[in-house]
């Protein structure tokens, strides 16, 4: 029982990071209409930028904050170079391009930073004990940060003009255009928001585990599973489903070989496609 509670707590932490990437994926799906295979590797880039910045400035908080800004700029630059001119192409063409982006980014990260395991210089602190559950300050940091970022994205989507425009373009692109919404600005706003999500997600992943060039790639499958489970294009669904996927993979790891965490995410995905192909929260 205590093991199960601990697994649920770990699952929340992992699920929060999956949810960040899935929220970004679902926005790209909704606005740019394609499955962005590069999502994980974009996260990896920001994680490594934070590593380098920390070696320069020392403070992890300042390094992470600046890395989020730089990482977001990288995501927008990737959009401008790789995706912008394919706006009228088929979703499949964009998907294939995003594979190319993913592979190229991973190769660049490996060439710059090497393939060995690296870690941030974080203060060593004792785990906090809450009843039967033990969480490290890093875990708390991950939960707090991802909650703040998700809340900010929701506020943007549901309370600001650009968010409302964004949802309008996602639902009815033609109607949005005839009602005078500048779809190019919407797309750039979306990539900035996605840049923020993958950058924060990547740095949090790097805090939780060691940095490798496969850091983000390894969480891509759970993030896709969460995107589909939450219903493609549903921001609330993506985050909720991220937590569901995180908790269920951690719980399953108690019973199965922990190496099969991705397999559990895949089974969740297959089950959803079988019974609720439009996602659990779909109307």
């Amino acid at each position: 029982m205590e093991l199960a509670l601990q697994a649920v707590a770990n699952g929340l932490v992992v699920g929060a990071m999956i949810g960040l990437l899935a929220l970004g994926l679902t926005m790209v799906f909704g606005i740019a209409k394609f499955a962005n295979v590069a999502q994980g590797d974009l996260a990896t880039v920001s994680a490594y930028i934070a590593l380098t910045l920390q070696s320069v400035v020392g403070s992890f908080v300042i390094a992470a904050g600046s890395a989020i800004v730089v990482g977001t700029l990288v995501v927008v630059a990737v959009y401008a170079v790789a995706f912008r001119r394919l706006a009228r192409s088929s979703p499949v063409a964009l998907l294939v391009t995003s594979i190319g982006v993913a592979l190229a980014l991973r190769a660049i990260v490996s060439l710059i930073w090497g393939v060995r395991l690296q870690a941030y210089d974080l203060p060593i602190a004792r785990g906090m004990v809450l009843g039967p559950i033990r969480l490290t300050p890093t875990d708390f940091g991950i939960l707090m940060t991802s909650s703040v970022v998700v809340a900010a994205i929701y506020l943007m989507l549901y309370r600001t003009r650009s968010g409302i425009e964004m949802r309008a373009v996602a639902d009815e692109p033609d109607l949005a255009r005839v009602s005078g919404i500048n779809s190019r600005r919407v797309i750039i706003t979306m990539w900035i928001a996605n840049g923020l999500l993958v950058s924060v997600g990547g740095i949090l992943l790097g805090m939780k585990a060691a940095l490798t060039p496969l850091l983000g790639w390894n969480i891509l499958l759970p993030a896709f599973a969460a995107t589909i489970l939450g219903g493609i294009g549903s921001p609330v669904g993506a985050v909720t489903a991220g937590i569901v996927v995180g908790v269920s993979t951690e719980l399953a790891a108690l019973l199965l070989n922990p190496a099969y965490k991705q397999a559990v995410a895949f089974i969740v995905l297959a089950a959803v496609l079988l019974w609720r192909p439009r996602g659990l929260l779909a109307a």
């Binding site: 499949v92 998907l95 294939v96 391009t97 190229a104 490996s110 060439l111 397999a263 895949f266 496609l273």
Partner: protein, 300 residues
């Protein structure tokens, strides 16, 4: 030297088979199968397990192909009513999960893999190499001829209609679902066949030989070449040779170590994919339907 050349021929043949399978799926049907290497692995592991248990090589060919087909079928069924993106995600996930299973299960040899797989024509000594090469190239010829009939048939036209305009296809009363599944399983069966040849040439398989990079290499080659059988095959072979030639970068005095070579290749694959999708997404030699009407004396 002979062994080196025949080895190249065998690998060229295996790449050609993998390209042929993906060409049917992507080039003609527009299916985004990101797990091609998984079906290659299933073919290789099936034949390796059976032949290590004493089953003669020739009797393991069919099971290797069937195993790949059987694995592809539920994936096709699961995604057949959904958008293309779903097939991409599911096949990608399947391939990653399969590699984890192969790396962790005792009966697949885990990360150590399966050594001691009987090789083709082993009783013939050194001339086993040219004989294997001839055999693999014969398999390639058979597969390409069969595929040519398939893509020139009414069935092939339906596949391209799925790729180009599914709604138009529905409007003439054809349901794309069944065609998509058969295209997926036939292409995967061909990958399984390639796995059979691979296992019985190298004699040792392990999970790391079936990394997703192989899938993406074949993808880039097929996109480069285009959907015609000649284009898809040549594109893949040329692209693989280009990747192989990166090993000479260090000979040119560039400071590239052995460990960086794999990253340089990955970079080449990635950048090629991006550039191709921008410059020429249909490839250099796309399939063109023969104009039968012209031959009949009428024009459209």
């Amino acid at each position: 030297m002979l062994i080196y050349i025949t080895g190249l021929l065998v690998f060229a043949g295996l790449y050609a088979l993998l390209a042929a399978g993906l060409n049917l799926q992507w080039g003609h049907t527009g299916l985004v199968n990101l797990g091609h290497v998984a079906f290659f692995a299933i073919g290789a592991y099936t034949t390796a397990l059976l032949s290590r248990a004493g089953v003669p090589l020739w009797l393991t060919l069919l099971p290797a192909v069937v195993a790949a087909v059987v694995a592809a079928y539920p994936i096709g069924r699961l995604t057949l009513r959904l958008q293309e993106d779903y097939l991409a995600i599911v096949t990608f996930g399947f391939s990653e999960v399969l590699r984890q299973i192969l790396s962790n299960e005792r009966w697949t040899g885990a990360t150590n893999g399966l050594p001691g797989i009987p090789v083709l024509a082993s009783e013939l000594g050194p001339i086993r190499h040219p004989i294997t090469a001839a055999l693999v190239l014969a398999l390639v010829a058979v597969v390409l001829v069969a595929l040519r009939f398939l893509i020139e048939s009414p069935y092939g036209r339906v596949l391209r209609a799925i790729r180009d305009d599914e709604d138009a296809l529905r409007s003439v009363g054809k349901a794309p679902e069944g065609f998509r599944v058969t295209s997926l399983i036939v292409g995967s069966g061909i990958a399984g066949l390639a796995g059979w040849g691979y296992a019985h040439y190298v004699g040792f398989i392990s999970p790391e030989q079936f990394a997703p990079t192989l899938t993406f290499t074949i993808w880039t080659g097929v996109i480069l070449g285009g959907s015609s059988l000649l284009g898809g095959t040549l594109g893949t072979l040329v692209f693989v040779m280009l990747l192989e030639s990166t090993r000479f970068l260090s000979a040119l005095g560039l400071p590239i170590g052995a460990s960086q070579l794999a990253q340089v290749r990955l970079l080449v694959v990635g950048l090629s994919l991006i550039a191709l999708m921008h410059a020429r997404p249909e490839g250099l030699m796309p399939y063109r339907h023969r104009q039968r009407l012209v031959r009949d004396g009428s024009t459209n």
